[in-house]
Every structure is written in structure tokens, then in C-alpha cells.
């Protein structure tokens, strides 16, 4: 059974000010209704004025997704009542959007078509405090610029949908127009249908994982209905992230008539070829380009290059170290070791204590055999957990590698103290060597290089013969 999925993604653009006024977009850490003015409160008589930065960001996004940027675009009013919507309409775009016909390539190589991209304003926010009868409205978010990205129904699994969202996040973060780490900065609606059934529009998805979860739930629900010979209705459903289920919408969305008409307060916006060209020339290297370059320039595997380019921060982190020391070694330590340690702690690189200089220091010590691999991991963990500088950790925890002479001395002593091991060795029990190596490691607190120690012990045992 063919599954067909299309997405409408809303991302908040990281402009300093709102889409149609000069108020700050920083609503998350502010007192309710602090960042408001006559325009974003929709006071009688106020008029919108387009934020040119938001337009520029929109064009950037369109170009990065390989879209055609319109020569001119028009804002429309989308009319509906809701307490968080101060004007009784949302300024959005309708039949004359900013950009059309783009593509995004998923990790599996599949190309997803972008139907259109447009600019619109975010509404305010309702709060329903527990135990209170009233609800409250906060208009700080009102007017924050949103970019709506609409795909063709080209995805055929929830994994693809999730991968698409991840790609969008990566690209938009590379453009520095979006911060996917902020709560509520990405929201999406998903259309999903299974061959032979009606299409469900799932609203209220607010995370990448949420999208996959909601879609998986929908597939099971729709398949079950079909199995029982029931009709899958065309309907709007609401996703409940906590419960991981979708429910029919209380409001009858399909009956909504938004009565779109051209926003008379904003004349048609013309976008000159020169402006598009100028923005195009300023576009940074995008994730896929960077991935290919990393492979070529630093001799990395595709997996490693992919893993290192998932965020611009990570990619820059890697590249700066790689330029100063062995790039392949760095790749292994960043893509495998460090990312593993971070995901174990459930944090990302930006949030963690480790700095570029820290990892560079560790890798230098490792490369010069000043610490062992095991020691290096130890230092990395302590840096992450205790926010201490590697140098200090190596000092305090006595992790500096021991010279061969020292190891030799200790090995001698260990062999002497374990005559039965010598006996075992003579009888051909190879394990005896491992035991002795273990003893040396124990004595040295793991600072001895296991390979070198093994060699030394074998040599010494043979000398006893």
C-alpha cells in the first residue's frame, strides 16, 4: 500500500524585529505583552510595514532550496477569528508567494519537491494556567516572521518526513536565519493518506520526532480502519505530542472560509534581479556542499562527512581543529567519540563544556603519545562533566603516559611478584601475558600503553628463559 505524505513547515525567521513593526522578536524570555506596539497589537489605525530583513531571509531560504524567486509578490489577508489574532486576520500570502518550485534532497538520495515558500506573521499565544478558569493572551509572539514551506506529497514514510525536516533545519541554520534549538521555532502540519483512503491533515506537530511519531500513529490508525473495511475519512486531526496520538479536530477546519484577498495596506513587493543575484552571491556553503568538500578535502568517509555537517556549529568545530592537526584522526574523535559522549548525555555540542581548544589539546597529547587513547577518553569525559580544562585533568588525575623505561621497570617487578604466571607462560598459556599486562595497567593507573606493555612483557619473559 502506497503511503503519500506532504508537509507544510513553519519556521520562525531569526530577525531582530518583527515582520511588520520594530518590536523585538525575543518573546521567549520576556514578560507577557512586553514586546508590543500599535502595529503588532493591531490597534485601530495602525499599518504594517514590511521588514526588509525578513524578505531577504525569505529569499535566502528560497535560493537555498533551489526555488524560483518571484519577480514580485503580494501579501494577502487570511481572515479568521481567534483570541491570539489581534487584527482578526493574519497577513500571509496566497496566490502570489515569494518563491516556488524548489527541491530538497534526502539522505537516501530521494528528491522532495517544494511547491511554494511564503512569508507570514505568527499570531500571539494563549495560556491556560492549570486550575484557573480564565485564559491569558500574550502578544509578544504576534508578528514574528514565519516562513511557510509547502512540499509536494513526495514522501512515502515517516522516516522520510523526519529526514526532510532535519534537512530543512540544517539548511536554514547554515543560512543563519533560523535557530532550531528554540522551543516552538519549527511547527508543521502533515498530510498523509494511504492508497485507497481519504487524506488526513495532522496539525500541531512541533518537533522532528513528533512528526515521525504522529505519522506512524496515523499509518497504524488508517491501516486498521482499512483492515476492518471502514472508510478513512478526509479530515483534520490534532496531534497530541505527550500521548503520541492524533484526534479529530474540534473545530471543523474544512468548513473554514478564510476569504483571502490582497492586503490593501501593503503594495505588491517587487524583487529585482540584482537583489536576488546579490543574495545568491552571499549564500554560504550549504550542508551538502560542505559534506562533499569534507570528503574530498580531508579524505573522510561519506558517513563521517555527513555526520560532521549536520550542524554548522559542529562542522566549524571540526574544521578548525582539522586544519591544525590530522583531519582523519579529528574526524574519528569528533564524529564518533565526542558525538557519542554528547548523545549519551543528551546534550548538543553548543550546550556542552568542551571547546575547540580543549579537543585540540587532547588530540595533540594523544598524537605525541603524552596520553593514551584511554586517557584521552577520560580527559574528554571529565571536560564534559566537570567543566575543567584538559591540562588540569591530566595533571590531577595523573594521566600522562609513562615512558617505556618506567613501564619496563614496573613490568620487571610485576613478573617477579608473579612466579606462577611465569610458570604458566612456560607451559604455553598465552593468557599469562594478558594477566601480567593487566597488572601493569593497574599499577600505572591505565597510563601505560597496552600494546607497548604487551611487547615488553613478552620480551622480558623470553629473556628469563
Amino acid at each position: 500500500m502506497d503511503i503519500v505524505i506532504g508537509l507544510e513547515v513553519h519556521i520562525q525567521l531569526q530577525t531582530n524585529t518583527k515582520l511588520f513593526c520594530g518590536c523585538s522578536t525575543n518573546y521567549r524570555d520576556s514578560k507577557p505583552n512586553k514586546h508590543t506596539c500599535p502595529i503588532c497589537l493591531g490597534l485601530p489605525g495602525s499599518l504594517p510595514k514590511l521588514n526588509q530583513k525578513a524578505l531577504e531571509y525569505g529569499i535566502k531560504a528560497g535560493l537555498a532550496l533551489d526555488c524560483n524567486i518571484a519577480d514580485s509578490m503580494q501579501f494577502h489577508r487570511k481572515n479568521y477569528f481567534y483570541p491570539d489574532l489581534p487584527k482578526g486576520f493574519q497577513i500571509s500570502q496566497y496566490d502570489s508567494p515569494l518563491a516556488t518550485e524548489g527541491t530538497v534532497e534526502l539522505s537516501n538520495g530521494k528528491k522532495i519537491e517544494i511547491r511554494r515558500i511564503h512569508l507570514e506573521e505568527d499570531p500571539g499565544r494563549l495560556e491556560h494556567p492549570a486550575g484557573k478558569k480564565q485564559s491569558y493572551v500574550d502578544y509578544n509572539r504576534s508578528g514574528v516572521p514565519l516562513l511557510e514551506i509547502v512540499t509536494e506529497p513526495d514522501m512515502s514514510s515517516p522516516q522520510e518526513a523526519r529526514d526532510f525536516l532535519r534537512k530543512i533545519r540544517e539548511i536554514m541554520e547554515y543560512l543563519k536565519i533560523f535557530d532550531g534549538g528554540l522551543e516552538g521555532s519549527l511547527r508543521c502540519d502533515a498530510n498523509i493518506s494511504i492508497e485507497g483512503g481519504g487524506r488526513a491533515e495532522v496539525k500541531n506537530i512541533s518537533s522532528y520526532k513528533g512528526a515521525e511519531k504522529a505519522l506512524n500513529y496515523e499509518i497504524t490508525r488508517q491501516k486498521n480502519l482499512m483492515r476492518r473495511g471502514k472508510e478513512v475519512k478526509r479530515e483534520t486531526r490534532h496531534f497530541n505530542e505527550e500521548q503520541g496520538i492524533t484526534k479529530p479536530s474540534r473545530e471543523k477546519e474544512e468548513e473554514h472560509d478564510y476569504r483571502y484577498f490582497p492586503e490593501p495596506d501593503l503594495p505588491r513587493v517587487t524583487i529585482s534581479k540584482e537583489k536576488i543575484k546579490e543574495i545568491e552571491e552571499s549564500l554560504p556553503e550549504l550542508p551538502d556542499e560542505k559534506r562533499d568538500r569534507f570528503q574530498k578535502e580531508y579524505g573522510l568517509s561519506q558517513d563521517q562527512a555527513e555526520s560532521l555537517t549536520t550542524s554548522l556549529f559542529l562542522a566549524d568545530f571540526y574544521e578548525e581543529i582539522a586544519c591544525q592537526i590530522d583531519p582523519e584522526l579529528t574526524a574519528t574523535w569528533v564524529a564518533d567519540t565526542l558525538k557519542g559522549e554528547l548523545s549519551y548525555r543528551g546534550i548538543n555540542l553548543k550546550e556542552s563544556n568542551i571547546e575547540k581548544e580543549d579537543l585540540l589539546f587532547i588530540l595533540r597529547y594523544l598524537k605525541e603519545d603524552e596520553i593514551t587513547e584511554k586517557g584521552a577518553i577520560k580527559v574528554m569525559r571529565s571536560t564534559l562533566d566537570e567543566n575543567k580544562k584538559p591540562e588540569k585533568i591530566i595533571e590531577e588525575e595523573n594521566l600522562r603516559s609513562i615512558s617505556l623505561d618506567e613501564i619496563s621497570e614496573i613490568a620487571k617487578r610485576v613478573i617477579k611478584e608473579n612466579p606462577e604466571a611465569i610458570e604458566d607462560y612456560r607451559q604455553g598459556k598465552e593468557k599469562a601475558v594478558n594477566y601480567l599486562v593487566g597488572q601493569v595497567m593497574k599499577e600505572t593507573n591505565g597510563r601505560a600503553d597496552p600494546g607497548e606493555t604487551n611487547k615488553l612483557i613478552q620480551k622480558q619473559l623470553e629473556e628469563i628463559d
Binding site: L43, F81, G88, R259, P267
Partner: protein, 467 residues
């Protein structure tokens, strides 16, 4: 004395601003109770302000172009010093936190906003009878309406409360009351005056304009309010020339569009306008009959555009943030409905419903889109006309001021009153209503010019008035 002469006398110290304000105050105290031109008035603060200006003049400091002039501002225009109701219960007690651009400009030029003038509720009407705060009476004949929707502005000028006022004109709302009250009223080119702070009725048609008892007054106030501004994206950012316009009647072709005369226009009105046209011809101008063929559809198309936009513009009045509130414990949909049912008057509700209908799926193409096509046709018709003629002259209103309560129960006949003014708004053109009957009930003559030709229109009005 006209506004310019008054300012000059004040500036020269021959008259004090405070003294002039007291003169106005006397007239207000005598007439206002009868006329009801104002929704809000603050004479005490105005007198204080006038004294400050007098002091500045005495000290030899620079004062603005409107130094000490009392001005009434229509209550559809936002003011931080006065509540702004737009003639509606919905905004009773609403005190805006900001000034509209035009009011800021008036203040910068030392004009004194003495009060807020009555108007039809949300500017929807041609008689000022739909105001929640009661009708305004025509100072020329108190049994009659002052016209609308800027009826309070025109009436205040007429009875002498202030030599200047601001109105707003969506389909004739400045020119109609100017015509009915016998004063001057200018509707500028769309985009010539910032709409920032004007409570929107129909955004693509609305324009703020001056009302005055003299041509000099119109020119003075228009020059102040039409300056640059960046808060209104539909404002045309062109500095106006300001240089003296020379106009010779001998070189002028005046267009007489046949669709604006005849059927539906009162005979006396037509005669009076033609009398003035004859005089112009005698002074050397050439008269030319022209045609605006799409005029036939102008009124219906106008009402579709205006009501459609209004249905959206007035959606913000839901009782949550400001203005009229309804205390009730129910879900928001019920509260919204109740607020809008109680807060809006009948005419406003009618227009919102008609506009909502016209924008609905399945009707949009039939109504709104079609109306926009008529609008394009009208623009073209006028463009064509202005290739042949310099100005177009028509009656402003098809009749003189009617009696209070005469038409209010019959909305269609009231809509018909706008027939000669709405084509101008649809085409975005400037036009000035000039009083042309000095005896009895006033009649207005409308001069329509090409875009941004306000100064030439004003100059032609001067020529008409020259003896």
C-alpha cells in the same frame, strides 16, 4: 478672515492665539449643544497650548505654519490626547496610546487640536446620523443633516468653532459634508497623505483630507499633512513642489462628464453648477463634454470593495484588547459574537455582513474580483479624460442637505447619495468640493484633477471664486 490671515496676525503679534481661541470658545458655547459637532472637546488645555505659543512668539522664537490655529480632527483619526471612538459604542472610552501621522504633523507645526469631531459610525454613512453619539445638525439649517461621514468636521468649521478641520474620505466623506455645510473639502490623491492612525474603513479608498472655510485654509492644512512619512506603505514618497502654481483660464479645458449630470441630480443643483461653468467659460476656459462610461457600475463596485475591506478591517474589534467589553463567562466564540452584536450599530453590521459575503468562496470572483475590474475601467476612463481636459467639474452631491431622519431608514437611497463622489475614490484621484451657492442651502461643486494635482485644483478654485 481665513486661516492663513489668522496665523499671520498671530505670528505678527497683532492677535494672540489665546484671544482667537476664546473667540472660538464663545461660538462653541453658543452653538455646540445644538449642533453636536464634537464627540470630545478640551478647550482648557487648548487655551493653555495657545498661551504657550503666544509666549514663544513674544520671545521671538520660531513657530510652525499652523501657529495657534484651532483644528477639529475627525474621530476616525487616532489622537493620544483624546479618546478616539470613530462614532461607535465599540470604541467608547478607547484612549489610543499614539498619535496618527497627520496629528503629529499638526502638532509639529503648532496647530492646536481642540477636539474630536463627530462622524458616522466607522465612517459608514453620508449624514452623520449613524454615530453612536447622536446626529450632528447642519449649522445652516438645524433640521437638516450636515452630510457625512465627516459631518462634525464640516459643521464645526461652518459655525466657527475652528477655521480648519480634518476629515476622512472613502467615498465622499469629506466632500459630502463640505457640500452640505457650504465649506471647502479636499480629498487628496490616494497615497498623498499618510493613513497611519486613520481607523480603516476601506484601506484602498480611505484618504484623510482638510476641511476649511477658505481655499487658503485648505491649502495651508493640506501642505502640512501631505509631507513625507514612512509608516504608511501606500504613501507616495514624493516631496511636493510648493512653488506657486500659475494657471491661466485661457489655456484650460474643463471636462463636463455627461454621466454626472441629468437623471438623479437635482435640477437646482445642476443649474447652479452650470452657472459657475458658464462663468468660467466667460473668463476664457473651454468647456468640453466628456464621458466616463464605466460610471454606470461605479456605485455598486464601490460598495462591494468598501464593504469587503471593511469586513476585514473591522474584524479586530472583539472586545479583548480595548474598547467595548462584554462581561460574560462563556467560550470566546460566544463572547466575540455578543461583543460585535452589541458594540456595532445596524449600518456597520449590515456592511460587515455584505462584505463577508462578497469575499466568500464561490462569490469572490462574482463580486470582489468583478468590482476590481470596474475599478480598473474607471481608472482608464479618467486617464483617457485627462488626456483631453485639465480638470473635470461636476456637482459634489446630487442634492442639497436633506432633513434629519428623512433617509436613514432607507439605506439604498443613502448609498445613492454617493454616486458622484465614489468614482473619484475608485480612481484614486484628488478632488475638491467648492461651495457655489451663497443664498440658502449650500451646493457644492466638485473639481476633479489628475493624480497629485491638488495644488492646481486649489488654484482653479481660487479662479472660480475670483470676482
Amino acid at each position: 478672515m481665513n486661516a492663513k490671515e489668522i496665523v499671520n496676525e498671530i505670528k505678527r503679534g497683532e492677535k494672540t492665539a489665546a484671544g482667537f481661541l476664546f473667540e472660538c470658545k464663545n461660538k462653541i458655547e453658543k452653538k455646540e449643544e445644538e449642533i453636536n459637532a464634537f464627540i470630545s472637546l478640551d478647550l482648557e488645555r487648548s487655551i493653555e497650548k495657545a498661551k504657550e505659543i503666544d509666549k514663544k512668539i513674544k520671545e521671538g522664537k520660531d513657530v510652525g505654519k499652523l501657529a495657534g490655529l484651532p483644528i477639529a480632527v475627525k474621530d476616525s483619526i487616532t489622537t493620544s490626547n483624546f479618546k478616539t471612538t470613530c462614532g461607535s459604542k465599540m470604541l467608547e472610552g478607547y484612549h489610543p496610546p499614539y498619535d496618527s501621522t497627520v496629528v503629529s504633523k499638526i502638532k509639529e507645526e503648532d496647530g492646536i487640536v481642540i477636539g474630536k469631531a463627530n462622524c458616522d459610525e466607522f465612517c459608514m454613512g453620508s449624514s452623520t446620523e449613524t454615530s453612536y453619539f447622536g446626529s450632528t445638525r447642519n449649522p445652516v439649517d438645524e433640521e437638516r443633516v450636515p452630510g457625512g461621514s465627516s459631518g462634525g468636521s464640516a459643521a464645526s468649521v461652518k459655525y466657527g468653532a475652528n477655521p480648519l478641520a480634518l476629515g476622512s474620505d472613502t467615498g465622499g466623506s469629506v466632500r459630502c459634508p463640505a457640500s452640505f455645510c457650504g465649506v471647502y473639502g479636499l480629498k487628496p490623491t490616494y497615497g498623498q497623505v499618510s493613513r497611519y492612525g486613520l481607523i480603516a474603513y476601506a484601506s484602498s479608498l480611505d484618504q484623510i483630507g482638510p476641511i476649511a472655510n477658505s481655499i487658503e485654509g485648505i491649502s495651508l492644512l493640506f501642505n502640512v499633512i501631505s509631507g513625507s512619512n514612512d509608516m504608511d506603505s501606500t504613501k507616495v514618497e514624493e516631496e511636493r513642489g510648493g512653488s506657486q502654481i500659475e494657471l491661466s483660464l485661457n489655456d484650460l479645458n474643463i471636462g463636463i462628464p455627461k454621466e454626472f449630470y441629468g437623471e438623479g441630480v437635482d435640477e437646482e443643483v445642476e443649474e447652479k453648477v452650470k452657472e459657475n461653468l458658464d462663468q468660467l467659460r466667460d473668463k476664457g476656459a473651454k468647456l468640453k463634454e466628456i464621458s466616463i462610461p464605466s460610471m454606470e457600475y461605479a456605485l455598486s463596485a464601490y460598495y462591494i470593495v468598501a464593504m469587503s475591506e471593511a469586513s476585514s478591517n473591522l474584524a479586530r474589534f472583539d472586545g479583548i484588547r480595548y474598547g467595548f467589553k462584554q462581561k460574560m463567562n462563556d467560550n470566546w466564540e460566544k463572547v466575540f459574537s455578543q461583543v460585535r452584536k452589541t458594540g456595532f450599530g445596524e449600518e456597520v453590521r449590515r456592511r460587515i455582513m455584505l462584505g463577508t459575503y462578497a469575499l466568500s468562496t464561490g462569490y469572490y470572483e462574482k463580486y470582489y474580483e468583478k468590482a476590481l475590474k470596474v475599478r480598473t475601467l474607471l481608472k482608464r476612463d479618467f486617464e483617457k479624460a485627462f488626456k483631453e481636459v485639465d480638470f473635470i467639474i461636476t456637482p459634489t452631491m446630487p442634492f442639497r442637505a436633506f432633513e434629519i431622519d428623512e433617509k436613514i431608514e432607507d439605506p439604498l437611497s443613502l448609498y445613492m447619495a454617493d454616486i458622484l463622489t465614489v468614482p473619484v475614490n475608485m480612481a484614486g484621484l484628488p478632488s475638491l468640493s467648492v461651495p457655489c451657492e451663497t443664498n440658502g442651502l449650500p451646493i457644492g461643486l466638485q473639481i476633479i484633477g489628475d493624480s497629485f494635482e491638488e495644488d492646481r485644483i486649489i488654484e482653479l478654485a481660487r479662479k472660480i471664486k475670483e470676482e
